[in-house]
Structures are given as structure tokens and as C-alpha cells.
């Protein structure tokens, strides 16, 4: 198992944002956490990354217990909803950041960093954009820089928080297809959060439907559509099917 979530609970006051959630994600899988806002999916993702702590439960990455390991040592890639690119750094330096902050003994030489960044720029279709600054890029371009930056450190898992949430409809559709293809090539275990049913059904190998801090159902997109396990899942997916392109 790449990611094992074991009875994770997180409370904000009396309200349980994540309520004793169990979930396992296999190596190389692309899993969607799907649910309405307030269902606890982003909190769960941030707990896996180490950006939030859990009140109880354990997080295992590739078999080792990460529950008390600080965020910087978990070696996860995280893509933020609003990209969170370093605004004062060029695209090149944004992607190089994770390599440059390594301790000297396992930091690649400048030439190695340059090669790696150029490789990634090519991968995300931004080969000639290395010298640009984030605010000279469109939303879709920024999102791809954020992805390249997260991949630069060879993360054990890739976590994406509403990766297309801030993009307009046309661009997000195109980027979806592109992300699916990228995942097919890179094959890093990935979990992404979304509230968009179509997005989850179209890209993910498996979809985790969440509601009020609990998991309602875990299934492949086909199973989910064929046999929704609870009334909530059926209702939540209804919107998607009527909107889905024929």
C-alpha cells in the first residue's frame, strides 16, 4: 500500500471534520476524494501531507508510520488550490526550490538541478517559460508549474487540493485530460480532492465519496454509477450524470 489512513479523526471544537476515516491507496493509483464543501476531504488531504495534525489515528506511507513525522520529511508532493507559487521567483527557480533547500550532502549540483528542472519544464509543456514570473502566466500554466514543482523532489505520493478549482470551465476540461495522461506516464500514487463529480469520474481510478467527515463509498467510477451504496451518493452523483457529455 502506498498510503494507509487508519482511523483518522480531526475535530474543530465539537465538530468532527474528519471522523474515524479508514482508506488505503495502492501504488500508482489515482484516487479522487469527492464530496460537497465541508465534507472533510481537504482536511483529510492536509493530514496525509502533514500540514494538519490528526487528533487520533495513524498515517502510513509505503508501510512506515508518518503520523508524527513533520511535513518536510514526509516527501510528499502537494499542489495547492491557488498554486501557491513563490511570486518573487522565476518559474525555473520555483521548480528548483525543493532541490535547493536540501542539506548540502544530498543536494544535486547546479548542473544536475538545471537538467532536472528542464526535464520537468518539458514534461509540463512550459519549456520556454523558465525565466517568466508566476504573474506572467495564465491560470492553467501556473497550475502546471505547481505540478512540476511538486514532482521535482520525486515525491512518494502526490496530493492535489482542488487542482482545477480556480480555472475556468474550458481550461479545466483540457487540463483534466492532460493530468490523466501525465499520471499514466509518471505513475506516482496520487490523491486529488474535488467537489466536481464529472472531474472525479473522468480522471480517477477509484473515487472516494465523502460526506460530513465520513466515507460514504469507495468504488471505481463505473461501479459508483451502477450501484451507489447510499442515498447520499445517488443524490450527489445525479447532477453529474445529467450533465455528463454523451
Amino acid at each position: 500500500m502506498s498510503i494507509a489512513i487508519d482511523k483518522i479523526t480531526r475535530r474543530f471544537g465539537a465538530h468532527a471534520a474528519v471522523d474515524a476515516v479508514d482508506l488505503e491507496v495502492g501504488s500508482g493509483e489515482l484516487v479522487a476524494l469527492l464530496g460537497p464543501s465541508g465534507s472533510g476531504k481537504t482536511t483529510l488531504l492536509r493530514i496525509v501531507a502533514g500540514l494538519e495534525h490528526a487528533d487520533s489515528g495513524r498515517i502510513l506511507l509505503h508501510g512506515s508510520d508518518m503520523t508524527d513525522v513533520p511535513v518536510g520529511e514526509r516527501n510528499v508532493g502537494f499542489v495547492f488550490q491557488h498554486y501557491a507559487l513563490f511570486r518573487h521567483l522565476t518559474v525555473f527557480e520555483n521548480i528548483a526550490f525543493g532541490l535547493r533547500v536540501r542539506p548540502r550532502r544530498n543536494r544535486p549540483a547546479d548542473a544536475g538541478i538545471k537538467r532536472r528542472v528542464e526535464e520537468l519544464l518539458l514534461l509540463v509543456q512550459l519549456a520556454n517559460y523558465g525565466e517568466r514570473y508566476p504573474n506572467q502566466l495564465s491560470g492553467g500554466q501556473r497550475q502546471r508549474v505547481a505540478l512540476a514543482r511538486a514532482l521535482a523532489v520525486d515525491p512518494r505520493v502526490l496530493l492535489l487540493d482542488e487542482p482545477f478549482g480556480a480555472l475556468d470551465a474550458q481550461v479545466r476540461k483540457e487540463l483534466r485530460v492532460w493530468l490523466r495522461a501525465l499520471h499514466h506516464d509518471v505513475r506516482v500514487t496520487s490523491v486529488f480532492v474535488t467537489h466536481d463529480q464529472d472531474e472525479a469520474l473522468e480522471i480517477a481510478d477509484r473515487v472516494v465519496v465523502m460526506n460530513q467527515g465520513r466515507i460514504e463509498q469507495v468504488a471505481t467510477p463505473a461501479e459508483l454509477l451502477a450501484a451507489p451504496a447510499t442515498p447520499f451518493v445517488r443524490q450527489f452523483l445525479e447532477g453529474a450524470r445529467s450533465l455528463a457529455p454523451a
Partner: protein
């Protein structure tokens, strides 16, 4: 679909799939940055008739000239009334030199301290939730709300001979009031808000996403501060520092109370100006005042440059 080998680095060399996928994206034209259009020229106002416009401009300029420019010119005019030689002689007088030195020392103490405190306070306030946060914000604003004279009196009440700590201090031979420590405390008190006030809204608007991104990428707390936080607040920091410096050098009320006006020892430049003026030594008074006026002009220039830089950065 053909199988693709996994590169040790986690990336495959085969790009064809992705390139094909990206084709419609390029055709959609979204690779062209929308943030790239040059700012449109502001259209001329057409509504107001030219006479009204001219009247408004003229009255604004006249007001500015009367209230700000004339006194500034007068300072230099008075300072040079008896010639450049006398001007220089007034400035190289030992008491005047001591005042300049004391003012510089006070600024050198107050500005760095408030820079460190300002960054720490702004960081805590902008990026974290904690109990007593609104109290801390109010405390930072307190020096703006309190009259500087009161600020000086508080320190006299605490450290003066009749004050709470006075007997203990004098028993140990430590002089706070009528000495450098008291002047430094009073200066720090009145300049506390400048850096923090400048940084809090800036850091709040930037959020903590970038810091979190740096942490996930493996940066330590110090690296995150050095490489992400500090560059983002750089110009706000410079701006806060020059305003803080201008106030530290120009403060009159608070330091006047704790100074004791010992010539050549506890007189800062503003205090020296007052003493010379009260002795009808107008030319010397204006000579020292002209240095303060010069400082104000330099502050304005630096401020303008920093503002231009900030706009450039945010428009980039």
C-alpha cells in the same frame, strides 16, 4: 496504449502522449497570458470644465506651498542668513555635533529593534490564530494613541528617582532617566507601530500558502523565512524602516521629558533646536533644523523609490 518505462527519477522520457494532449490546449489560445496586457492609459476627465479644473489645481498647489513648502524654504533661508561659513560653524559646534551623534545612536538602537519586533509581531498576527491576538494588535497601536509626552512620563514614573524602580536603580548606580537608556526607551516606545503596522496587512494579504508550499518541499523554518517570507515582505520592510527612522530622529515630546536637557550629553537634535531657539540663537537653531529637514527630504525620496518598486513588483 503502448507501455512506458519508468524513469528512475520518476519521469518517463516519452512525451508523445502529453504533447498530443496539449495540442488542443494551444489551439485554444490559453497559453497567452491574460496578465500580460499593458495597463491602459487613464482616460482624461471630460466632465469638469477647464476653469473649474484649473481653480482646483491652483488652490491645491497654493495650499501646499503655503503650509508645507514655505516653512521648508524658510528653514534653509534662516540657516544660511549669516552665510555658509556661519552655517558650518554652527553645525561643527561641539554641542551640535553631540546632538547629531546622540540622535544617530538612538535611531541605530530603535530601528533594528523595531524591525525584529515588527517582523515577529506581524508574522504572529498575520499567519496564526492565538488567544490575545486582538490585544496584541491594540498594544501595537497604543503608541499612536498615547501622547508622546505621556509616554515619556511613564518612564520617569518607573525609572525616575521618585519612581517605582528609581531607588533600586540609583543604589546600583544605573542611570536610566536623564541618560541614554531612558532616551532609547522613549524613542522605541513611540516608534513601535511603524514596521508592524506596515507588515501586518501585507502579510495577511499574502496568506500562508507559500510558506506551506516551502515546508512541504522540505525547507526548514529558517529557510522558509529566508527564501519565501522575507523576499515577499522586503519592500514593506524597507518602507517601515524609513518611516520608523524618520520618527526616531524627529521625536520631540517623549525624549524631551526623559532627557533632562544636559548640553552635549542628553540633547537630541530636536531638543538642541529648541534650546538654541529659546536662547535667540536663531541661525544656529535653523542650521540644526535644516539637517532634520534634509532627513525628511531623503526619507521622501527613498519612500517614493520604494513605492515605485513595490508597484513594479506587483505589476510584474
Amino acid at each position: 496504449m503502448e507501455s512506458k518505462t519508468l524513469h528512475p527519477a520518476g519521469l518517463t522520457a516519452d512525451m508523445t502522449t502529453i504533447e498530443l494532449m496539449a495540442e488542443p490546449l494551444r489551439a485554444g489560445g490559453w497559453l497567452v497570458s491574460e496578465a500580460y496586457a499593458p495597463p491602459a492609459r487613464r482616460p482624461r476627465t471630460r466632465g469638469a470644465p477647464p476653469l473649474v479644473r484649473r481653480l482646483l489645481i491652483a488652490s491645491a498647489v497654493a495650499y501646499f506651498a503655503l503650509v508645507v513648502l514655505t516653512p521648508l524654504v524658510a528653514v534653509f533661508y534662516e540657516a544660511f542668513r549669516k552665510g555658509a561659513e556661519f552655517y558650518l560653524a554652527s553645525l561643527s559646534e561641539p554641542d551640535a555635533l553631540a546632538a547629531v551623534r546622540l540622535t544617530l545612536i538612538l535611531a541605530l538602537i530603535a530601528v533594528p529593534l523595531n524591525l525584529v519586533f515588527g517582523v515577529a509581531a506581524a508574522w504572529a498576527i498575520a499567519k496564526f490564530e492565538f488567544r490575545g491576538k486582538s490585544l496584541l494588535v491594540s498594544l501595537i497601536d497604543l503608541p499612536f494613541a498615547v501622547s508622546p509626552v505621556i509616554a515619556g512620563l511613564i518612564y520617569v514614573l518607573m525609572f525616575g528617582l521618585q519612581g517605582w524602580l528609581g531607588p533600586w536603580l540609583s543604589a546600583h548606580g544605573i542611570k536610566v532617566i536623564f541618560a541614554l537608556p531612558g532616551l532609547a526607551l522613549a524613542t522605541i516606545f513611540v516608534t513601535v507601530p511603524f514596521v508592524a503596522r506596515e507588515l501586518i496587512p501585507l502579510m495577511e494579504s499574502q496568506g500562508k500558502d507559500e510558506e506551506e508550499a516551502a515546508l512541504v518541499l522540505g525547507a526548514s523554518g529558517w529557510q522558509t523565512f529566508r527564501r519565501v517570507t522575507l523576499p515577499n515582505i522586503k519592500w514593506g520592510l524597507v518602507y517601515g524602516a524609513i518611516l520608523c527612522n524618520a520618527r526616531a530622529m524627529g521625536e520631540f515630546g517623549a525624549v524631551s521629558v526623559v532627557s533632562g536637557h544636559i548640553r552635549g550629553e542628553t540633547n537630541t537634535m530636536p531638543l538642541q533646536v529648541e534650546i538654541l531657539y529659546n536662547e535667540y540663537n536663531f541661525v544656529a537653531a535653523f542650521a540644526v533644523a535644516s539637517l532634520l529637514a534634509l532627513l525628511a527630504l531623503v526619507t521622501l525620496v527613498v519612500k517614493t523609490i520604494v513605492e515605485a518598486r513595490t508597484h513594479e513588483v506587483s505589476a510584474r
